[in-house]
Symmetry: C4
Subunit: 232 residues, 4 copies
C-alpha cells in the first residue's frame, strides 16, 4: 500500500517515473484524438477512435480510483482541484453512454478537453501560475477593476460617438465592449473600428491612457511568474 | 451631525460601510440599466426602468445634499472633483424633465454614464492614477509632446507618400493622423494601410523608431502605478 | 551684439523667452496652415494662406540671418543640424517662386513640413533622443542588424510557403518583407496573412522568436530615453 | 599553413579582415540576387545572374574546402553548425545541375537562402542568441510548454464556442490554433475573429490571462539578449 502510494504520488522511484510518463502519454494521445475528432469528417468518431478512447478512459478511471485509495485524506483529494479534474476528465465519456441523440453526444464529447488540465499536475508553470496569482492577488484585484472600469468607459464613450454612424457594429454598450477589449489589448482585428472624427479622437486618448492601465495586470502576472521561477 | 459625517465620509463604522455598499450597489444598478437602455429596443426607456431611474436619482440627490451638509468646507466640496461628479451624475435626469423632444432626451440620458465615475471614490486604482500622473507629470509632458511630434511626423510623411495612391484614405494630414495613431500603438485595424513601396519603407522606419517613443508615456504610467501600489 | 546673441540663443532673460515663444507660435501656426492646406479643397492655397505663409517665411528668414550673425562659429552653425533645418524650413517657399507648374509647386510646398523639426530646438525629448541613440549606438547596430536579419529570414520563409498560394500578395521577397514588418511588430493590418498550413506554422515559430528580437531595439531606445530623463 | 589558418579563421590581421569582408560582400550579393530572382519575371534566372551565381558558388566551395583544410579538427568543423551551413549554402546549386525539370529546379534554388546564415559567423547578435537561449534553457522549456498549453486551451475553447457559427474558419481545433496564435501575440490580422457572444467573452478572459503568459518566453529572450550584450 505504501509502495503503491509512492508510485502514484511521487516521482522518486523508477516505477513512479514510469507511471507518470505512462499517464502523460495517455493524456497526449487522448488530446490528439480529441483534436482530430473535431475535423468535420471525424466528428462522430470512428470505431478505432472509440476503442482507443474507451481503453484510455478505463485506465484513467483506474488511476482515479487508485488515487482515491492512496490519498491521505480521501474527501480532501476528491474535492481538490486535481481530484475534480480527474473526475471531469472521465465523466463526459460515461455520460455519453446514456445519450443516443448524436448532437448532445458531441457536446459531451467536447467536454473531454478538460483532460488537458491533467497535464497541470506535471507542469511547474501551471502550478506556478496559481502561486503567482495568489502572491499578487491584491494588486490583481485593484488593477483588474481598473481594467474593467477602463474597458467600460471606453465602450460607453465609443458608443456615444459611433452608434449613430455605425448602428450595426455599435448597437449597444455590450456590443461596444468587444471593440474596447480588442482595441485596448492592441489586437485590433479590424472587424469594428471608429469612423467618425469624434470617435477617432476619443480612441487616441483612450489608447494613450488605456494601453498603460490594461497592460498592468498582464505585466504583473508576467513579472510574478518570472520572479517565482528565478527563486525556485 | 458628527455621527452623520462619519457615516457618510468614513468607512470605520459598520453603518459607514453599509452606506458605502448601498451607494455602490445603486451605482452598479444604475450603470447596468444605462447599458441595457442602449439596446435599440429599450432606447426610449420603459416604465419600469424609468421608475428605478427616478428612485436612484432621488437617493443620489439626497446623498449629494447630505455630503454638502456634512462637508468641512461646503464650496470646497461642491467644486472638488467628487462634488462635481456627484452633481453631473444627477443633472442629466433633471434636465431631461424640461425636454420633450425625444432625440435630445436621449443625448441627455447618455450623459448619465458620468455616474460610473462615482465609483472612483471607492477605487484605490483611480485615486492612484491621479497620484501617479502627478508624480510623473514632467516626464509625461516631455514624452507626451514627443509622442504627438512622432504621430504628426508619421502622418505628414505617410500623407506625402500615399495621398496620390489612396486619396480617399489619406485625404489630408488630419485623415492620416488616424493611420499614425493606429499604427504606432500597434493596434493595426487594417482599415487604412500604405500600398506604395515608398509608404511601406517609411512605415518600417517609423515603426522601428516610433514604437519605442510612443510606448514611453504608456510605460511610464504603468510603472508609476505599479510602484505606487507597492509602496502604499 | 552680445545682448542680441543672448536674446536669440538663451532663454535666461525675459526677452529671450519672448523671442522663443514668438518663434514657437509661428512654427505652430505654420504647421497648422500646412496641415489645412493638405485638404483637397485648399490644396492650391488661398490668398489669405499665402500672405500668412510669406510673412512667416520672412520672419523665419530674418531669424535664420540673425542666428548666423550671432553664431560663435558661422560655418559651424550653418552646417549644424539646427542650421540646416532652419535653412530647409524656408527654402521650399523660395524655390516655389520660380515654378509655375502647379504639380511641382505642391511637391515643394509639401517639403515645408520640415519646419516641424524647428520645434526640436525647444524639445528636450528630441534632444534626448539624439543622446539616447548615441549612448546605445553599439547595441542598436548589433540588434538593428539582428532585426533586419530576422525580418529577411521571415520574408524569405513566408515567400517559400505562400508564393504559390497567394502569388499576388507574396509576389517576391520584397513584397513579403512588408508582411514580415507588419507581423513582427504585431501591428497586423490584415492586408496580407498566410493561408497555407505550412505558412501558418512558420508564422507561429517566427512570432515566438521574432517578437523577442524585434522588440529589443525598440525597448533599448525606450529604456535609454527614460534613464536619460531620470538623470537630467 | 599557419598563416592561411589565421587569415581564414581570425580577423587580427589585415588580410584576415579583407578575407572576411570579401566573403561578406559575396554573401550580400548572393542574397540580393536570390531576392531579385523571386520576382516572377526573373524566376527562371537570367544568363548574367547564372554566371554571377556560379562564380560565387565556386568561391564559397573554395572557402569551404579551405576551412576544412585549416580546421583543427576536420570532422569537428564539418559537423559543426557553421560547417553544415557552409555546405548547405553551396549544395542546392550543385544539386540543381542534375535536374532538368524547371519546377524542381526552382525549389532547389529557393534553398540557397540558407546562405544568409553564413552571416551568422560575423554577427555577434546571432552568436549571442544561441548563448542567450542556452542560459535561459530551463525557463524557456517551462514557459514554452505553458505557452503551448495556453494556445491549445484557447483554440479548444474558441472551437467549442464558434465552430457552429463559423464552420469555415473554425473547422477543427487545428484551424482554431491559427486564431489562438494570432490573437495571443496581439497581431490580430482580422482574418478570423469570434462573432458569438460566448466566443467574445471567452476571448476577453483568454486575452487577460494569455497575453501575460505568452509574452514571458519572448520577454525572457529579450532580457537575456540585452543582459548578455551588457556583460560582454
Amino acid at each position: 500500500m505504501e509502495k503503491l502510494k509512492s508510485i502514484i504520488e511521487n516521482t522518486d522511484t523508477n516505477l513512479g517515473k514510469a507511471f507518470d510518463l505512462f499517464i502523460q502519454t495517455l493524456i497526449l494521445i487522448s488530446i490528439c484524438l480529441y483534436s482530430i475528432e473535431t475535423f468535420p469528417e471525424y466528428r462522430d468518431g470512428t470505431p478505432l477512435f472509440n476503442i482507443i478512447e474507451y481503453v484510455i478512459v478505463g485506465i484513467f478511471t483506474l488511476e482515479y480510483i487508485l488515487r482515491i485509495i492512496v490519498a491521505t485524506s480521501r474527501p480532501g483529494f476528491i474535492f481538490s482541484i486535481w481530484g475534480l479534474i480527474d473526475l471531469f476528465a472521465i465523466l463526459p465519456t460515461y455520460l455519453s453512454f446514456g445519450i443516443f441523440d448524436l448532437r448532445f453526444l458531441r457536446i459531451y464529447r467536447l467536454l473531454r478537453v478538460i483532460r488537458i488540465f491533467k497535464f497541470g499536475r506535471y507542469t511547474r508553470a501551471l502550478d506556478g501560475l496559481k502561486k503567482a496569482i495568489i502572491s499578487i492577488k491584491e494588486e490583481l484585484i485593484v488593477f483588474g477593476f481598473a481594467t474593467l472600469f477602463m474597458i467600460y468607459v471606453s465602450a460607453a464613450g465609443i458608443f456615444i460617438f459611433e452608434h449613430e454612424a455605425q448602428p450595426e457594429h455599435f448597437k449597444s454598450i455590450f456590443h461596444s465592449l468587444w471593440w474596447a477589449v480588442v482595441t485596448l489589448t492592441s489586437v485590433g482585428y479590424g472587424d469594428v473600428y471608429p469612423i467618425t472624427a469624434g470617435g477617432r479622437v476619443f480612441t487616441f486618448f483612450i489608447l494613450m491612457i488605456g494601453l498603460g492601465i490594461v497592460s498592468i495586470p498582464t505585466g504583473l502576472l508576467a513579472s510574478a511568474l518570472t520572479n517565482q521561477n528565478k527563486n525556485s
